[in-house]
C-alpha cells in the first residue's frame, strides 16, 4: 500500500513537471512571437524613406501623398503602447496603399526596376508583419488553451500564469477590405 501511494505521487510529480515545462515553453514562444512583430515593423520603418526617395523625382506633383507617408511613418515610429502602435501602423499601411495607387499613373515608375524591387520589398514586409501576427495569435491561442484546459489549468492558476492577449484590429477602418492591390501580379 505504501509503495502504491509513493508510486502514484511520483507519477503525479512527473506529470506536473511535464505540464510546467510545456507551459513555460509556450510562454517563451508567445514572447518571441511578439518580438518578431516588432522586428518586422521596424524593418518597414527603415524601408519607407528609401522608397520615398526613389519615387520623389518622378512624382513631383504628388508632394502631398509622399509627405503623408513620411508623416504617418514618423507617427508610427513614435507610437507608445501596443494599442496606439496598432492604430498608427494601420494608418501607415493606408498611406502606403495610396502611394502605390497614385504611382500606377506614372509609367516611368512602373517600368523602373528599382521601384519594382522596392515595391516587392514593401509587399514582403507587409506580409511578414501579417504572418508574424498570425504566428503570434496561433501560439497565443495554444498557450491560452493550455491554461484553460484540464489538467494544466490547475497548475497555471496556481503559478499565476496570465492568458496572452491576441492581436486584434483596433481601427474599424482596417476591417474593410482594402481597395488597393499591392501584389505584383501581371
Amino acid at each position: 500500500m505504501g509503495w502504491f501511494v509513493l508510486g502514484m505521487l511520483g507519477l503525479v510529480g512527473v506529470g506536473a513537471i511535464a505540464l510546467y515545462n510545456r507551459l513555460i515553453g509556450l510562454r517563451n514562444q508567445v514572447l518571441n512571437g511578439w518580438r518578431q512583430i516588432d522586428v518586422q515593423l521596424k524593418r518597414r520603418h527603415d524601408l519607407i524613406p528609401n522608397l520615398v526617395n526613389t519615387v520623389r523625382g518622378a512624382m513631383e506633383f504628388e508632394r502631398d501623398t509622399l509627405t503623408q507617408v513620411m508623416e504617418a511613418r514618423a507617427r508610427a515610429v513614435s507610437a507608445t503602447g501596443p494599442a496606439d502602435a496598432a492604430k498608427k501602423e494601420g494608418e501607415l499601411s493606408q498611406a502606403l496603399g495610396r502611394l502605390f495607387a497614385v504611382a500606377e499613373n506614372y509609367p516611368v515608375l512602373k517600368a523602373n526596376d528599382n521601384v519594382r524591387m522596392l515595391q516587392e520589398e514593401l509587399t514582403s514586409t507587409e506580409n511578414k508583419v501579417g504572418f508574424a501576427r498570425q504566428f503570434y495569435n496561433d501560439i497565443s491561442t495554444k498557450f491560452n488553451t493550455a491554461q484553460q484546459t484540464f489538467p494544466s489549468n490547475m497548475l497555471a492558476s496556481m503559478l499565476g500564469f496570465k492568458p496572452a492577449e491576441l492581436f486584434e484590429l483596433t481601427d474599424p477602418a482596417e476591417r474593410q477590405v482594402p481597395t488597393v492591390d499591392l501584389s505584383m501580379r501581371k
Binding site: D113, T123, S124
Partner: protein, 309 residues
C-alpha cells in the same frame, strides 16, 4: 507505418526461424543484421543526404543565382523567392531555411535536410517562371511543412526499413540458390510442430519473394499520406488553399519529367519529378505505385478547404 514494422518483423521472424536457426534457440540475429545494415546506409544519408541531393540536382545558392541573373526581372524573381521563404518561415515559427535554385525548366520544388535547423528548400527555374507570387508562397509553404512535420526524418527511417527488407530477401534468395543453410531448419521443423509451421513457411516464402515490391508499395503509401498532410499544413500557413490549388494546376500542365531530380528525392518534391503517367490517373494501380497522390485529388481537397465545390 505500423504495417511496415509488422511486415519487417514477419519477414525477419521467418528468416531467423526457418533459415538460420531451428526454431528453438530463438535469437533474431538475421533481422538485427539486416536492420543494422539498412540503418547505416539510411543514416549516413540522414546526415549528409541534403548536400548530396543538392549537389546531384545542380542547385545553386541564391547569391550565385542572383549574380548569374541577366534577364529583365530575373533578379526580382529571385529576391521575391528569398522574401517568400522568409515570410513562410515567420508564419511557421521556424528558422529560415537555406534557399536554392535548380536550373531546370520543369516546374517543381523540394525540401531536404534532417531537421528545421538544417533544412534547405530548392525550387526549379521553371517554377519561378510560371507561378505568381501567391502561388510561389503556397508551394514554399508546402515544402516548409515537410520540414516542420519532420517528414525527412520519417522517410529516412522508412528508407532504412525498405533497405532491410530488400537485404533479407536478397540473402534468402542467394542462400537458396547456392544451397547453403536451410537444411537444419527443415529437419527441426518436421519433428516438432508439423502442419502449422509448414503453412507459415509457405506464407513466408511467398512474402519473401514479394518483399521488395511490398516494401516499396508501403513506402509509397506513407509518402502519399505525408503529401496530403503537407498540402493541408501548407494551407494552414498561408490561409490560402486556392493558391496552392492553382499552383498545382500549373505544375500539372507543364507535366514533364524534372530531369535534374533523381528518384531518391521524389517523395520530397511538390509533384512527382519522374513525370510518371501513374501520377495523373486514379485507380488501384496508381494508388499503389505513385509517390504522390493524384493531382486531381489534391486539388479537390484544397478546393474543399476553401469551401468551393
Amino acid at each position: 507505418m505500423g504495417l511496415f514494422v509488422a511486415f519487417l518483423l514477419f519477414l525477419g521472424y521467418g528468416f531467423d526461424r526457418f533459415y538460420l536457426g531451428d526454431g528453438e534457440v530463438f535469437f533474431p540475429i538475421g533481422t538485427i543484421a539486416a536492420l543494422g545494415v539498412g540503418s547505416v546506409s539510411a543514416f549516413s544519408s540522414y546526415y549528409s543526404g541534403d548536400r548530396a541531393v543538392l549537389l546531384s540536382t545542380g542547385a545553386v545558392s541564391l547569391a550565385r543565382a542572383l549574380s548569374a541573373a541577366t534577364a529583365e526581372g530575373e533578379a526580382l524573381k529571385i529576391r521575391q523567392l528569398d522574401n517568400v521563404v522568409e515570410e513562410m518561415a515567420i508564419a511557421a515559427g521556424l528558422p529560415k531555411p537555406k534557399v536554392f535554385v535548380v536550373p531546370d525548366a520543369d516546374p517543381n520544388a523540394f525540401a531536404t535536410g534532417r531537421d528545421p535547423e538544417h533544412a534547405s528548400i530548392a525550387v526549379t527555374q521553371g517554377l519561378l517562371n510560371v507561378v505568381s507570387r501567391d502561388e510561389l508562397q503556397a508551394v514554399i509553404a508546402h515544402e516548409l511543412s515537410h520540414v516542420r512535420n519532420l517528414d525527412i526524418r520519417l522517410m529516412t527511417v522508412i528508407a532504412a526499413m525498405v533497405g532491410a527488407i530488400a537485404l533479407l530477401a536478397d540473402w534468402t534468395g542467394r542462400g537458396m540458390r547456392s544451397g547453403i543453410g536451410g537444411g537444419s531448419s527443415r529437419r527441426g521443423r518436421k519433428g516438432k510442430d508439423g502442419g502449422g509451421a509448414a503453412l507459415l513457411l509457405a506464407v513466408w516464402i511467398v512474402a519473401m519473394l514479394l518483399a521488395p515490391i511490398v516494401g516499396q508499395t508501403l513506402a509509397m503509401m506513407v509518402s502519399r499520406r505525408r503529401e496530403f498532410l503537407a498540402d493541408a499544413s501548407g494551407a494552414e500557413l498561408t490561409r490560402n488553399p486556392l493558391a496552392l490549388a492553382s499552383a498545382l494546376e500549373k505544375i500539372q500542365q507543364a507535366h514533364a519529367p524534372t530531369v535534374s531530380v533523381k528518384r531518391g528525392t521524389a517523395h520530397l518534391c511538390i509533384a512527382d519529378p519522374l513525370g510518371r503517367a501513374v501520377g495523373l490517373r486514379q485507380g488501384w494501380l496508381p494508388d499503389l505505385l505513385a509517390s504522390h497522390p493524384p493531382m486531381a485529388g489534391r486539388i479537390a481537397a484544397l478546393r474543399q478547404m476553401a469551401f468551393q465545390e
